[in-house]
């Protein structure tokens, strides 16, 4: 173990061996950033759609909860699939929640 850490590595094969984990780690970093932006994008899109439905009305699949004294709150809870470009076999899911007070005059 000691030799492995203090020992000297010379040659192109050794440099290639070092390069592979570095490239993998940087790809994982990019994937994390990509997934994070994907999740934030989905959150804003779903919230925007629900707010639009709360103002204009719509046939979206939301839940309606009555508020004390009249009116109602619309809630949308969705399991979003997060796109990945490294690991294609497993699907990552994240729960996204949107909420809006119903302002549609027809309700």
């Amino acid at each position: 173990m000691r030799n492995l850490i203090i020992g000297k590595s010379r040659g192109s094969v050794e440099s290639f061996i070092t390069l592979i984990p570095q490239v993998l780690i940087f790809l994982i970093m990019f994937q994390l950033v990509f997934m994070q932006f994907g999740f934030i994008k989905d959150t804003h899109t779903i919230q925007g759609e629900l707010s639009k439905a709360a103002i204009n009305g719509g046939s979206q699949e939301y839940e309606r909860y009555p508020l004390a004294g009249g009116g109602s709150v619309l809630m949308l809870s969705k399991n979003s699939v997060i796109e990945k470009f490294l690991d294609f076999n497993s699907i990552s899911r994240k729960k996204i929640i949107a909420i809006a007070v119903d302002e549609d005059v027809n309700n």
Binding site: L4, I5, K8, S9, Q36, H44, A68, G70, V73, A98
Partner: protein, 134 residues
């Protein structure tokens, strides 16, 4: 100057590949991972507090009476918090503060401001006026 850079780049550097990987890559990766987590936490908190402030003030000013207004605010926040995962609920506690320009709050034309706190340091405010013809 140009020569010295070329010399520096083509110079051999001896040492263990594993040590170089441990010393250079892992600290950068750890720091980056922490940064990504913080950015995500902040982005979610900002989006959550902005939206909740807007919805809370809307629920407040559309209330038929002052007594029901605060109850409606709590009802809305509870609905939202109940749909969060226990981990998210513990990481980002949500609280609301309502301020009115004059009292009683729900008098026609009165300015109502709702401030939502998410976590320790994220605060957002939204303002609305009570309907003049109520």
């Amino acid at each position: 100057m140009k020569m010295s850079i070329t010399k520096k780049l083509s110079k051999k550097s001896n040492g263990s590949a594993i040590t170089e990987f441990l010393v250079f890559t892992l600290p950068f990766f750890t720091a980056f991972l922490i940064l990504i987590t913080l950015v995500q936490y902040k982005a979610i908190s900002i989006s959550e507090s902005n939206n909740l402030a807007r919805q809370v003030v809307r629920a407040f000013v559309t209330s038929p009476s002052d007594q029901l207004a605060f109850f409606r605010v709590n009802q809305l926040l509870e609905l939202y918090q109940n749909s969060l995962s226990p981990a998210a609920k513990a990481a980002r506690p949500i609280s609301a503060d309502i301020k009115c320009q004059s009292y009683p709050c729900l008098s026609p034309g009165n300015k109502v401001t709702a401030t939502i706190s998410v976590g320790r340091d994220q605060k957002s405010s939204a303002t609305e006026f009570v309907d003049l013809w109520r």
